[in-house]
């Protein structure tokens, strides 16, 4: 694909001065971040730092009190929401698969919503299951309850990628997996990203995962961005919160 970039090129996703409060308690305080094409921005922070809320602001599950979010150069407004959401894959911790649908129906959801022809959807589902390392013949007709945690998460990622979105939103996608499966999926995710060039906004509280997955890390603390850094810069960061996260690395 050829990009005719104006200078400066608009980022794929721009989060501008976003604030949000629940019952007077601020959850996000003036957060500004960008995600460029093909980039993985990791939101790292403790529980309650606002990272999940920020992710939900991006796809409009949460409506910020102030600030603006632009996706593909357009402000995400009510009428744009459905269109934008179909161009942002969404993966959550336990996969969020529909329990009453087969793997095939789950993965084919967004293409179906977008009105693809059934044969085209079926072909795409097969392609995606292969891509995430599941044999279509074996897994296509299964229900989520017949899958292991790691397999569910693979299906979740396949579903998120189904319509070829330019951006993935991932909310601690590997947190509930055993360490071996988690490492496998992390490696595979990196490989997928390399192949597809899909950008990602990736929420995690695991600094090891952040360093592994990120092109840039945004460290959130009490709803504010404390630091935005590449993994190399982050390892050398001196701030207290960054050091607190890095201290967790030294043990193992």
């Amino acid at each position: 694909m050829v990009y005719h970039r104006k200078v400066p090129a608009p980022a794929l996703l721009e989060i501008c001065d976003v604030s949000y409060a629940i019952g007077g308690r601020p959850v996000l305080r003036g957060v500004s971040l960008t995600v460029g094409e093909g980039e993985t921005l990791v939101l790292l922070g403790r529980s309650g730092s606002g990272k999940t809320t920020l992710l939900k602001c991006v796809n409009g599950l949460v409506r910020p009190d102030a600030g603006e979010i632009r996706f593909e150069g357009r402000t995400i407004a009510r009428e744009e929401l459905i269109r934008s959401r179909r161009r942002m894959g969404y993966v959550i911790q336990d996969g969020g698969l529909f329990p009453h649908w087969t793997v095939e129906a789950n993965v084919g959801l967004v293409p179906r919503l977008e009105g693809w022809a059934p044969e085209k959807v079926a072909g795409r589902v097969e392609e995606l299951l292969r891509l995430v390392g599941l044999d279509p013949a074996e897994y296509r007709a299964r229900y989520p309850r017949q899958l292991s945690g790691g397999q569910k998460q693979r299906v979740g990622i396949a579903r998120a990628l189904a319509a070829g979105p330019p951006l993935l939103l991932l909310d601690e996608p590997f947190a509930a997996l055993d360490p071996i499966t988690r490492y496998e999926l992390q490696r595979q995710f990196l490989e997928l990203r390399r192949q597809l060039g899909t950008a990602a906004l990736f929420v995690t509280h695991d600094v090891r995962e952040a360093l592994m997955m990120a092109t840039r890390i945004a460290l959130l603390r009490d709803g504010a961005v404390e630091l935005v850094a590449t993994p190399e810069q982050f390892r050398a960061a001196q701030g207290a919160e960054a050091r607190a996260f890095l201290a967790g690395l030294e043990g193992g």
């Binding site: 796809n59 599950l61 459905i82 934008s84 959401r85 969404y90 969020g96 529909f98 329990p99 229900y143």
Partner: protein, 202 residues
């Protein structure tokens, strides 16, 4: 047992079942859309469920009696009263079923770009089906019992035997109404339990 009695049991059972089926059909037709609308409105929901709860506590004989001046005696009045009783379990189970669907799943559906209507029809309702059918089942079984009182206002049904037996001090006549009513309730319970299993999405 003589032929005349058997044929009367059969015709009154049919009448009984007719009352129940009409009442359940109307209560379902009202209760399902009402419950769906109420899942979107928390405040009105409390009011509506409160009202339905109160309606349920009115003694059935009193309700039948109360409706007579407005709706007269006969089948219509009986159906109205039975509907009111059937409404609560259907309403409550539909609400519980829809509201009980895992919020993370509904949020995922929204995040994938499904519209509110698509989420309702493709995700929430299918996952709520077992609970909804269970509500219809409870409503049907209790209505079969309550419908015996319909005879008191001339709507017929198996209650005819029961009231006749009471006024004649004849236990066997009471049983001629009570036993078929109990059997109908058991059969309805079985059939609806089977439907519940068949329709279960999981």
């Amino acid at each position: 047992m003589n032929r005349a009695l058997l044929s009367e049991i059969a015709s009154l059972s049919a009448q009984h079942l007719e009352l129940v089926l009409i009442a359940i059909a109307i209560a379902s037709a009202m209760g399902l859309p009402l419950a769906i609308a109420l899942t979107r409105r928390a405040r009105v929901r409390r009011l509506a469920v409160g009202f339905a709860n109160i309606a349920q506590t009115i003694p059935s004989l009193a309700l039948f009696g109360f409706l007579v001046p407005f709706a007269g005696i006969g089948k219509t009045t009986a159906v109205v009263a039975l509907c009111l009783y059937a409404l609560l379990p259907i309403l409550r189970n539909t609400l519980t079923g829809i509201l009980g669907v895992d919020r993370a799943i509904c949020e995922s559906a929204a995040a994938m770009g499904m519209t509110g209507r698509q989420i309702l029809w493709q995700v929430e309702l299918p996952l709520a089906v077992p609970s909804i059918v269970a509500g219809v089942r409870i409503a049907t079984v209790t209505t079969i019992g309550t419908a015996t009182i319909a005879a008191a206002i001339g709507a017929g049904g198996l209650g005819v035997f029961i009231f006749r037996g009471i006024s004649m001090f004849d236990r066997n006549t009471v049983l001629a109404g009570a036993i078929p009513a109990a059997l109908l309730a058991l059969a309805a319970d079985e059939v609806l339990e089977w439907i519940e299993r068949k329709l279960s999405p999981l």
